[in-house]
Each structure stands twice: as structure tokens, then as C-alpha cells.
């Protein structure tokens, strides 16, 4: 059984799919994607109760009477959740509703204790913002954000280890969320991922969400449809639910686009439905449990009054906004003369940007050197061990210590790589490694001259060939001198002196 289905799957995967290209243009199809991102707000307590939102507690130990929907209990709104939503709205240049209203979305599901979710429907707190993403060709595309509204998260259903039963843990129930709904303006899986990453960056800059995708703090539903190139009318969409990694979003959309194009090209019709991405099989499948026509019967929640925000409140939240990624990247270009690409990479997270700035400030006049090292050797080392920049493995001051020695020519760039590796594994400072290993660069002209003369004396044949016009041998002499000085000769000085000495 397992074997045969595996075979079919393999065959399906091997068959080249039509419409495999990112945007479908090569096949005459256009992809239309809208994302609904759910970001858990980093409040201490829940949106409508005083229970803790901490992750990973024993089942139901953080589900209080309000979260459990006990008879008689009532919701009271968390001020911090409102402030965080407003922060987000201001960060994307959106309209902040002076009056927003909570509504009930009614449906039965075991992880939804009250039989309704408190959400916002007709009057969301944030509307009409925009987020810029950088496309592959470096151009910038503005994606509209239709709305962002506050709502409560549901609990979790656990299906393992209980034969014939599902266990319900309501610790997550009532955790504040903002649901960020984009316009259907994303045109490829890559667009979608770039947008999702940008939102992820933003919420972390704003310190309104920890962005932890493994724990479900940041997850997304993708509405995907395809239409004939040039068509105005949107195709029937499928909603892919609850994807919690950038890679899966890309793969799920690619799969879904191909699936829909397949259906349409073979004369079929796409069914409007909810689908689930299965990362093990790399495919989306219909969620039968949610298939029945939903009639959510939204109406204003009579237990909650309209949320009213005045100008003064909104301006106070605006004044407390941090520098945002786009502004920071622009400043990096202006202040440090970095290429736009570097500035984009370095501002991808607030921690990385802060780190970079700390290094750049400690080694004045060398911002590009700092960028190269942060994005190059340091990033590689961190990636290799799966560490975050703020893990403290290479404090900014220590890396700056190394860069200072490159800048003052104590060591060459090449030696610096060796020193970096030693610093990484030992945790020692660049200076102490340079000293104990004797890696200080030779800048004394007479010492370099002596070394050159010794090499010339040992290699008369090569010297003669060089002098008869074989210029390529210049590199040979550079190598020999470097070898003799254990790589410590200052490369620029060496070049200059060799040019003088070799011709004789």
C-alpha cells in the first residue's frame, strides 16, 4: 500500500510539470497570490484575559476561565495588543481606525472554546497600508496591505498517542494575533516569500512578534489562483492554510500553481477550497474537514465596545517607532556608502543591523570592510553552526579588533582569515592571536628587500626568463617571497619593491 502510493508519487514528481516557471509567463498563465499572515503579538498576557502567553507550558495550564469560554466570563481588551497593532499600522503607512469594532466569527471546532472567535470584521484597526519588496532584478515592488486586524488565536488539537481521540490544549487560545491581509498583488512564489520575509523583518523590528515560525508565532495562509495572461478576471482560488516556513510557502505555492494550471489546461475547473500543504510529500491536499460551506454569521461582539483611538494616542505610538528597515537601509547607503544590496542584507534584522553598526563605528573609515566581513566570513561561520548574530559568539568589538588590524596593515586580508578562524574557535582577541602566532605583517622595507634578494639569488633561471620578457613570472616571485616570509610581507609593498628589483 505504502509502496505503491510512493511509486505513483515518484512518477508524478518526475513528470515535468507544465507551468513550472515562477510566474507562469512562459506558459501564458499569470499567478495571483494574496497572503494572510498571522503574527502572534508578543504581549505577556492574552488579548482578552490575564493568562500568560508563554510558549511550551503544560497542557491547559495557561488556559484561564476566559480562555476556556466558561459560562459567565467576559473579555477585557489588552492595551498592549492594541498598541502593537497600531505600531504595525504606522510602520506600513496604513490608516489607523479611530474606531474599530470586534466581531464574533461563529463556527464549531474543538480548539475554539466559545464556539466563536473574537476577531475584527467590518471595522479593522489597520487598513490600507503598503509594503515594498525587492524583486530578483533588484527593482522594488509595492504590495498593498488591505487590512490588519486584531483577533484571538485558537487552541491546539493533538492527534498523537490517543487512539480514536483528539486532545485539546487551550494554552494558545486567546493569544493575540494580528492578521495581515495583502492585496492579491503577488505574482510568483518568490514574490510571496519576499513579502512574507519583509513582514517578518518588520514585526521583529517593531518588537511586536518574536517571529518564531517553528512555534507558530508567525504563519501564513496563501490564496492562490491562476489566470490567462492578460485576463482581468481573477481565477478561482484555493486557500493553502497554515504554512509555517518561508521554504514551504514557496514550495506550496509552486505546487499549487502547477496543479491549477494542469487542471485548467486539461479542461477542468479549479474548486474553491481550503488546502493543506504536506511538507513530507511536497504537495497540497484538500482539507475535507473544512470543506462544508462556512457561514460564519459575523456580528459585532456585544461583550466588547468599540475601540476608540485619538490623535494623541496615535502620535505617541508613532513617536516611539524605531528606525524601520527601509529607512535604515537608505541610511546605510548614505552614511556608510554601502551598495544597496549590502544595505538590504545588513538590515534584514535589527540585531544584524545593530551588530554591523557597532563594528563599523569601531573601525572608522572602513564601513565596506566591515560589511564584507559581517556578510562574508562571519555569516558563514554563524550559518555553519546555526547560530544567531546575537548569540554572543563573536561580539562586535572582537570582530572590530580584527578589522582594525587589517586597516592598520598589521595583518593582510589573507592572514586575517586565519586569525578569524582562530578567534572563532578559541574566543580570543585578534591581537593576542597575532602576537602568539607571530602573524604581524612585515612592513619594514629593508626586511622585504632582503627576502626578495634571497629569492632572486635562489632562482637565477626564472629571473633570467622574467628579464627576457616573461612577465607572467612576476606572480611566481610574489609567491616565493610570501612563502619565505610565511605570508607576512605586506602585499602592496612587496609588489612595489619587486617591480623595482626584478628588472635589475
Amino acid at each position: 500500500m505504502t509502496e505503491s502510493s510512493g511509486t505513483i508519487l515518484d512518477a508524478a514528481q518526475q513528470r515535468p510539470r507544465r507551468g513550472e516557471s515562477q510566474d507562469g509567463t512562459s506558459t501564458g498563465w499569470e499567478t495571483v497570490i494574496g497572503l494572510e499572515i498571522h503574527a502572534q503579538l508578543a504581549t505577556r498576557s492574552k488579548i482578552f484575559s490575564g493568562a500568560s502567553t508563554a510558549y511550551g507550558a503544560a497542557p491547559n495550564s495557561q488556559a484561564c476561565l476566559v480562555d476556556l469560554g466558561y459560562p459567565g466570563v467576559l473579555p477585557v481588551l489588552n492595551a498592549e495588543a492594541v498598541r502593537m497593532a497600531v505600531r504595525f499600522g504606522l510602520a506600513i503607512g496604513a490608516r489607523i481606525a479611530r474606531q474599530s469594532v470586534f466581531a464574533r466569527k461563529n463556527y464549531f471546532y474543538p480548539d475554539l472554546p466559545k464556539g466563536y472567535q473574537i476577531s475584527q470584521y467590518e471595522l479593522p484597526i489597520v487598513a490600507q497600508g503598503a509594503i515594498d519588496i525587492v524583486l530578483e532584478d533588484g527593482s522594488i515592488k509595492r504590495i498593498g496591505v488591505t487590512r490588519a486586524h486584531l483577533e484571538e488565536d485558537a487552541g491546539k488539537s493533538l492527534h498523537e498517542g490517543l487512539p480514536g481521540l483528539t486532545g485539546i490544549d487551550l494554552n494558545r487560545a486567546g493569544t493575540p494575533l494580528i492578521e495581515i491581509v495583502s492585496e492579491p498583488e503577488l505574482r510568483s512564489a518568490r514574490d510571496a516569500v519576499a513579502y512574507m520575509k519583509k513582514v517578518h523583518t518588520l514585526v521583529r523590528y517593531l518588537e511586536i512578534c518574536d517571529g518564531n515560525m517553528q512555534e507558530g508565532s508567525f504563519r501564513c495562509d496563501a490564496n492562490v489562483s491562476v489566470r490567462r495572461q492578460g485576463s482581468e478576471k481573477l481565477g478561482t482560488r484555493a486557500e493553502i492554510k497554515n504554512v509555517n516556513s518561508f521554504r514551504y510557502v514557496e514550495k506550496a505555492i509552486q505546487y499549487e500553481v502547477a496543479r491549477q494550471i494542469d487542471i485548467l489546461e486539461s479542461g477542468g475547473k479549479v474548486v474553491q477550497e481550503t488546502r493543506l500543504y504536506d511538507p513530507d510529500k511536497g504537495e497540497t491536499r484538500s482539507m475535507r474537514s473544512k470543506e462544508e460551506a462556512n457561514d460564519y454569521r459575523y456580528f459585532p461582539d456585544p461583550d466588547l465596545l468599540p475601540v476608540e483611538l485619538d490623535e494623541q494616542y496615535i502620535e505617541a505610538v508613532r513617536a516611539a517607532l524605531p528606525e524601520l528597515p527601509d529607512a535604515k537601509a537608505a541610511r546605510f547607503v548614505a552614511q556608510y556608502g554601502l551598495p544597496a544590496y549590502d544595505a538590504g542584507v545588513l538590515t534584514a534584522s535589527r540585531e544584524l543591523a545593530d551588530y554591523y553598526e557597532a563594528v563599523a563605528r569601531a573601525v572608522p573609515g572602513e564601513p565596506k570592510l566591515a560589511a564584507n566581513w559581517v556578510m562574508g566570513d562571519l555569516a558563514a561561520a554563524l550559518n555553519k553552526e546555526g547560530l544567531d548574530i546575537d548569540a554572543g559568539r563573536m561580539p562586535a568589538g572582537r570582530l572590530a579588533g580584527l578589522l582594525a588590524r587589517i586597516a592598520d596593515q598589521t595583518i593582510s586580508g589573507k592572514i586575517a582569515k586565519e586569525v578569524f578562524e582562530a578567534m572563532w574557535s578559541s574566543g580570543e582577541s585578534a591581537d593576542s592571536i597575532i602576537d602568539t602566532k607571530g602573524l604581524r605583517q612585515i612592513t619594514d622595507t629593508s626586511a622585504i628587500e632582503q627576502a626578495i634578494e634571497a629569492v632572486m639569488a635562489r632562482n637565477p633561471a626564472q629571473l633570467a626568463e622574467y628579464r627576457s620578457g616573461k612577465d607572467k613570472l612576476f606572480g611566481f616571485f610574489v609567491g616565493q617571497v610570501m612563502k619565505a616570509t610565511q605570508g607576512k610581507a605586506n602585499p602592496a609593498q612587496l609588489n612595489e619593491l619587486l617591480k623595482k628589483k626584478l628588472p635589475g
Binding site: 476561565l65 476556556l68 469560554g69 466558561y70 459560562p71 459567565g72 466570563v73 467576559l74 473579555p75 477585557v76 481588551l77 464574533r104 461563529n106 464549531f108 474543538p110 472554546p113 466559545k114 464556539g115 466563536y116 483528539t166 485539546i168 457561514d295 454569521r297 459575523y298 456580528f299 456585544p302 461583550d303 466588547l304 465596545l305
Partner: protein, 485 residues
Amino acid sequence: MIHRHTLARLAAELRARKLSSVELARAYLERIQASQPLLNAFISITAEQALAAASAADAALARGEGGALTGVPIGHKDLFCTAGVRTTCGSRMLENFVSPYDATVVSRLRASGAVMLGKLNMDEFAMGSSNETSYFGPVRNPWNTDLVPGGSSGGSAAAVCARLLPGATATDTGGSIRQPAALCGITGIKPTYGRVSRYGMIAFASSLDQGGVVTASAEDAALMLREMAGFDPRDSTSVDTPVPDYVAGLDAPLEGLKIGLLKEFFDAGLDPDNERCIREALAVFTRLGAKVREVSLPNISLSVPAYYVVAPAECSSNLARYDGVRFGHRCKEPRDLTDLYKRSRSEGFGAEVKRRIMTGTYVLSAGYYDAYYLKAQRVRQLIAADFQRAFAEVDVLMGPATPTAAFAIGAKTADPITMYLNDIYTISANLAGVPAMSVPCGFAQGLPVGLQMIGPHFAEQRLLHAAHRYQLETDWHLRIPERFA
């Protein structure tokens, strides 16, 4: 005869140590036990806890401590959650539900020293006007046990009427305090929406529900309401304005009070005997120096249909939490999740609750929302505006609380609309959120009649004052059915 004392007098005598709370509790518990087969006013009788609380009250009084109600026996409508004591809401769904927490009303009255003797019967989830929908059997009217006591706070009203308690909590969503108070010949007040905390008061229709009290007299109601009203941070719809001392100033003259006679309430449906009682009551107010004039609220005739959209809509959502998962009735051996939901809910809820859930589900469903729900909300606005206009001209509106006196058990169960129209005069106050009360004002063929008084938002004191002055002139509120006298 201690049970003939008013709550205010009991409180005073307890404080003066002329009475012991334990003796008082024993006396009332005895009356409660004896009445139970006849009236069925209680769902739970908490004798043991009551005697313990009463003896603690006596000890406190002996030390010269205690609050305004220390040692006074009361009962709670069985939809106020009481920690450790079963709270059923009159439903099989919550037959075995023991709340882990106290409603704010319950903890406030306890803090004032009141001693709870038990939990009072009610229409299931407060949906009913006759107490016939209770899973625990109907309550009977102490004036005539073949008749209904009214509902949904039928247990509370019958208990006070038969002097099984000097006062009880109750709730009013469309008349559930005033209608049974009228039918039992006692005093009942529904405060302004937001005046009494709804925290721990099991919801029927959140934008209409309001807790209040039933007592023998307006003075008693003033005392009890003063102790339970006030801002509660746990209820977002609770209003943060100070509670005046409702008891102070009750004796002040009524001279110059402007009373509006609610024209639309004197319609064809009003029983002539009831009308006579109301008109006589108004004559008393005129004698007291009040000015009576007729006032029209043109949209008030739409109250009942608007209510039967709004209330069921909210109820259908409020009662979705009863799904057999975390508390409440669960069916045996569910085949799957849907079966668990459907059978648990169908077995747990009675027919009237199901009808209201279904009505609410229907009016909120796709395609009907605008035509029913939104339309009803607009009509609600019109009704609220009618009240606002009226209160620009008069201080208090008066009229009948019910079209007729108490009716026979079973008389109105066949047609829901006939039953719903029983609340025709009470519903508008809930839609507008204004305070209203019912005060005994005579008898129609041996059965009590209630005068309804409606005030603008937060004018409880004005209503209580008018009612008290009226009760100083009349003794309708002191009449007790013979077998309980």
C-alpha cells in the same frame, strides 16, 4: 412573624442585635423546605453553607463589624455563578455544573454580609416568561399555584412573594425581573445596562442582560441594589460612574415630578382591570404633587419583533460554548465530533432554547443578516431615540408592566408568539438600556398588577424614590398570599 419584615428592617434589627442571623436563616430555610413541593422556587437549597455563613455573620455583628446586609438571608437566581455551589441556569446542560468562581454580584453581596440560602429556579437560560421552560420543573405562583409566576426570574419572584426570602437577585433581558415581579405582586428593578456587572452572570443576550433585584419594597430594592451595583473591571460593558446611595433621600417629596403616561401601552391588549389599577396608581402620584401627561413613543410597537431578532442572535452565539467538551452535558458514546456536538446540545437544551438558538442562527446567516439583524439594530436605534425624546420632556415614564395578570400554567405554551407578547411592555427598556421597575399597584380579580416605571439612563434613584413615595401611600407591596402569611 419575622418573615413579614422587610429586608431593610431585618438588616437594622440584625445590626441592633435584636435578631440572630442563624435564627433568621433557620426560619427562612424552614419556610423554603415547606414551600418547595408547592412552589418549586428553588433549584438548590444550601442550608449547610447558609448556617455557617449566618453564624459567621452573628460573630461579626457581635464584634461590632459587618456591612449593610450582614446576616440578611438572600437567594440568587441560578444563573449567577457561585463558587463550589452548582449553577444550572435552569438547564439540563448545566445540571451538574459547579462554578469554580463567584459572579461579581455574588461576591459583592457576600462582602456586604448577605447570607445565601439557595439558588432560585428560572426559565432555562432565562428564556421564557412563565418559568415553564426550566429543566427543573415550573415554578408556581404563590397567589394561585395553578398559575405561572412569570419569568424568567420566576423562582426569585415567587420566593419573595411567599416571603421565603426578603430579597433575591434576578436578571432582566426583556422583562425577566419586571414581569414576574408584576405577576407576583412584589417590587423589582432592572437597572441601567452597565450598572450591575455581568461578570459571572451566565449570558443569554449580552447587549440586553442586566442584573437586578426583587424585594418586597422599593426601600429594600434600593438597599440591595446599592450593595451590588458598581463598576467592575472584569466587564467591558460595566460603566465607571459612582453608585449613589439609593437609600438616601427616598423620603423626599415628589412635588413637581413630571410623569409621562406611555400612550402606546394603553392598547387593546391591556386587560381593563389592569388598566384600572394603573390609572388609580397614577392618581396617587398626582395627589403627591406629580404632573402627569401623555407621551407617545411611536416606534415602541416594533420592540418585540426587534427584540426577537437581537436576543436570539446573541443567544445563538453565547450558547455555542455548550458543546460537551469542557463543561456541561455530554452525550453517551459519541460516534464522531459532529455527533458529540449535536447530541450533547440536543439532549442538554430544551425546546424553547433550541428555537431561540435556531432563530438567532437564521437571522445571522448569510443572506438574512441585513434584512433581520441589521434592520433590528436600526429599529433599536429608533426606539432608543424615542426614549431620549420622551426624557427631554418628562422625568419618568409610567404604564403597565404586563398586559394581563398571571395566566394558567400551560395556557401559552402552544404558540411562541403569544408567550413573547407577554413582554410587550417591558422589552423596549432593554433595547434602550434604560432602568425600569415594576411596583405592585392593585389586584385584578384577586391577582396582583404591576405598575411599570421607566427612567433615563442611570436614573435608578429617581425610580426608587418615586416607588418608595408611592409605597408610603399604599400597601399593595405588603400583601402576602394567605397561605404564606
